[in-house]
Symmetry: C2
Subunit: 344 residues, 2 copies
DNA sequence: CTGAAAGCGCTTACAG
DNA sequence: CTGAAAGCGCTTACAG
């Protein structure tokens, strides 16, 4: 096991001071060319890499970004992550990643770890539990310590920072309107994420679209499934479809859509003639089901890229005026596939 | 923006030395209880967190693990990542994540960044390009610097380290044998990953199973699709199915299976009666297609957990004897769904 | 029980 | 053009 090469080692090799070597490595100009070249060559040959910890101690940027997401098994978050990673690596930044698993405690621990001088900034999508309990103290702490913060998708008005969101309200509104235009009147909504900020907005959009089209909101068609009841979704759907007329279902995430599709097929309804389906999140499932599911695309990779760009700007330009925080709203788009009727 | 609290600040507050504060914070015993408690209380109240960079400079563990994976949009890798993350966070470790995108260069850059004192160990699944070019110099460098290394799934014999793999050979062997048992004789193989270590092993397993069952290997049924030809898969399959008898297809990854399924359905064959399908990687696609695809499960989360456990052991017990490297082979299991005939 | 000193690896005024 | 010195925030023998 070879020891890591330090400036000291190089200094000894050439019989000069550490300061001189430091300057040579940094390619400064107040140093003799011959010496500099010799040192640079030696450093390259022996794989010299400056110790990041020493640099960071000296107050340099860490070139690390903290990423905290609720899950990585959810393709939407994986896509955003891929977008973040792309921009980060293009700019020489490393990602320190934590999965909150939708737990407030894990989120707090993750942020605490990152606050120890480990990162220049943090990108986060808030855990479900955090949104329910509305405990945002760890975010305030982050801001107070001068660590830049960017939120995406699951955000909160309580914290002033750059944000990247999707127009959830409008996306749900448009999807619902699409159902209406294609002749549906009994439009159900199925959600596993009613407690999150995005879930709430989507439900609002759905309701508004119904009202704007003179359709009464039927509470029995508002199927909000809590986390621990997800296994009961099929039962719930079967009961609902058995007892009331439903000709369309707006699903707020991929998995609920997949379950809805299965159930509807099992019950013998025709898709989209009897029942239409639109799902949020243009993930991988919807593309491979039969029929393929019409989705509201959230452009995850793009959201990730945008979030990272916001953060980079904060870090590198050192913009601190709080007034200038911006919220980027990304437009969703409806990807029409086979679970909705064609509009002319 | 409040400055981060340091030992110095606390020392000033109590009019004691920095050394004393340091000992109090570390809860050492050679210090008066009253002082210690006062300092601890003050530190807690003011959110003191030791500067990680200073600790690391002093030669402490970084409590960081580097993770380098080819992609995060592939559910298998996402699963492994989730497993790694679980064990890491349980043990107070942070993850520094890089996506190699199957590029040798990106992999080298990632490793170089991690080698600057940023991590205690690295978990990696080798990029496709790296396996093709067989350039493993960055791994040797890692080992030489005393950074522990664990490889999973895509590994190489050229580097001696702990490894976690799936019995790819046996998994493919068993899947092929399953086809034979269910009456298939013209078994094709469809692969996007022939160039990776795991792809090669799976192909070997497939061939061996054919030979053991007295079936000749038909090169025309060995469909190895290169990365840049993935778009042509459907055409290739259509041609193959049109010109030769095929009654089973072993797909080496999820996406090729999804494409195969689509194509077969489009051509009007019955599944599994005309053609059976088995896919490697028990991901999310195979669960939601119609019919649901029979898969060889690789137990991704478990692989991740196992990899992280290996690495932790190396780091924390400081095991260095090279002889003791172990390769854990995880058994695949066949998850029978609807694209294979039932065996009695 | 407390603290002065050296040191981890580096950078940066400053002096020469 | 070169180097001695101070300092980033911390720990750890060692002395008292």
């Amino acid at each position: 096991m070879s020891k890591r090469l330090t400036l000291k080692d190089i200094a000894k090799e050439f019989n000069v001071s550490i300061a001189t070597v430091s300057k040579a490595i940094q390619d400064k100009h107040d140093i003799s060319k011959t010496l500099k070249q010799k040192i640079l060559a030696y450093a390259a040959k022996h794989n010299y890499v400056p110790n990041q910890n020493a640099l960071k101690l000296k107050g340099k940027h860490t070139k690390n970004i903290g990423v905290v997401i609720p899950s990585i098994l959810n393709l939407f978050f994986a896509k955003v992550f891929a977008g973040i990673e792309k921009i980060a690596s293009e700019n020489g930044y490393n990602l320190i990643t934590c999965i909150s698993n939708d737990s407030l405690e894990k989120e707090k621990i993750a942020i605490d770890m990152m606050l120890n001088g480990a990162v220049d900034g943090i990108i986060i999508s808030i855990a479900k539990e955090t949104q329910i309990k509305q405990d945002y103290s760890h975010f305030f702490k982050t801001m107070n310590m001068g660590i830049k913060l960017t939120m995406f998708d699951r955000v909160t008005d309580a914290v002033a920072c750059d944000k990247v969101v999707v127009n959830d309200f409008q996306g749900a509104y448009n999807a619902t309107k699409f159902f209406v235009k294609s002749g549906c009147k009994n439009i159900a909504l199925l959600s596993f994420i009613s407690e999150t900020s995005v879930g709430k907005l989507r439900i609002e959009g759905y309701k508004k679209a119904l009202l704007d089209n003179d359709i009464d909101i039927n509470k029995n068609l508002l199927l909000e499934v809590k986390e621990h009841d997800v296994d009961e979704t099929e039962t719930l759907l079967t009961l609902t479809l058995g007892s009331r007329k439903v000709d369309a279902i707006l699903c707020l995430e991929e998995t609920s859509a997949a379950i809805a599709l299965d159930t509807i097929k099992r019950l013998g309804y025709e898709i989209p003639n009897d029942i239409s389906i639109i799902a949020f999140t243009n993930g991988i499932i919807t593309k491979y089901t039969t029929p393929k599911i019409t989705t509201v695309s959230q452009h995850g990779v793009f959201m990730g890229e945008q979030s990272m760009k916001f953060l980079l700007k904060r870090i590198e330009e050192n913009v601190t005026e709080e007034k200038q925080y911006t919220t980027k709203v990304i437009k969703t788009s409806l990807i029409q596939r086979q679970t909705t009727k064609k509009l002319d």
